[in-house]
Symmetry: C2
Amino acid sequence: MSSEDKRTSPIGVFDSGIGGLTVYKALRAALPHEDFIYLGDTAHLPYGTKSPEAVLQYTVQAARELMENNIKLLVIACNTATAVALPSLPSLLEDLPCLGVIDPGAQAAAKTSITGRIAVLATEGTVKSGAYAAAIKHYRPDAHIQMLACNLLVALVEEGWSDGAEADAIISRYLSMLQPDFDVLVLGCTHFPLLASTIRKHLPASVQIIDSASTTAIAVETFLVRNDLLRVGTEVGKTSFYVTNAPERFERLAERFLGYDINVENREPTNSYAART
Amino acid sequence: MSSEDKRTSPIGVFDSGIGGLTVYKALRAALPHEDFIYLGDTAHLPYGTKSPEAVLQYTVQAARELMENNIKLLVIACNTATAVALPSLPSLLEDLPCLGVIDPGAQAAAKTSITGRIAVLATEGTVKSGAYAAAIKHYRPDAHIQMLACNLLVALVEEGWSDGAEADAIISRYLSMLQPDFDVLVLGCTHFPLLASTIRKHLPASVQIIDSASTTAIAVETFLVRNDLLRVGTEVGKTSFYVTNAPERFERLAERFLGYDINVENREPTNSYAART
């Protein structure tokens, strides 16, 4: 591929389901001229409760599907897949550049915190992986990190109940499980940006909230610029959305994440992917 | 197999995950001398958001696994799998007797209701299948049925928050979405019996609650007696628990469903099952 071809190639965005749309939304806002291909592996969601082996297998399968579209970069817009699969991906995928959602949020948290006391809300799978704590410690070895699994928050967002009495009751109970000495709270699940304003209400004003969607968009833009892969011009980029199962449910929920309707195609697994699905 | 062999054969209990343990618990209480083999298809849960084709495929795969243990009866302890797969199962499984969780609850609701106005709480997949409404109408053609998808309740139970302020807020919001003219409420998801006492608090005393776990146990006992398949004697039956992924999570949650700890084995898919997983 020539440099020009590479610049005009699409960016692949992968998630186990719909949560990655918060990352896509931030990417689309930051990178208006890029084409995107979003693949939600809805046949296998949620990843948060699956074994590491299963998550790696599904992620590699999905990445290979996206590579058939000559993507120039793969964004793993799923915290569990980032925690479990990202370290092994480049070697399994012919050195395709891959960026995940954990490192950008961890780096921002480490830089933003004054006291070094950081709390992370995530799903069970992400918490168990230990990946956030490791990434934050990489940037700030003295950090004191609390991780909390908040599985109900995913269902809450998908039900469309991001504010109201139920959201208040659930979020306040989760936050009460943390030692209240942190000054940075990381939303370590792609669903959670939709709860940011409700979470904000239950925190002291001194606590900064960092979400993995906007921090990942900045990291992707930086990567594209540094590697001369940014698509320039005036054309507005296109996006195709694919899921491995139940596109109509994805379409219905997508409006909650994006604020507008999209068309979603079912992408039946092909070849080697099909053989293992 | 002789009649004696058949009577001493185990009963297979299948669910997409852990919710079927409420059915197993009711079966174990009603049938103390039977052996059970429980298989939770945790590699593919939740079924409620999957396509009908995927649910049928997973259910047949799991049923074949259980049939390798010479089960005398298969209990589909999953509302979604019952709704979607049960009608096709006997023909796909060499006429193995199969009982689901919808018909017993529907029959009990039709008999119990005085006014014929019945509400059903279930997951999205069960609601969409229309199976509960069809089953209730079969027993009571004049019934007026409201179905409500309550996806948050599964996450609520799995978090262990079956009572308290969050459960009250969520349940009260769901119940407020129903026309309040029903006199029977069916808990049409295997997770929901754990919420029965909280749901009870938010209903008029005149409303009867029917759950699919205890009604299914009665249906299974009746089936065994009528077909001379009941295991008799004084020996206490044994149970083996298998899951297709992440047994440690299942073990941890199982205590919430059963009130005691169990050992769970990972059952890697074999042969034809593995080829499609």
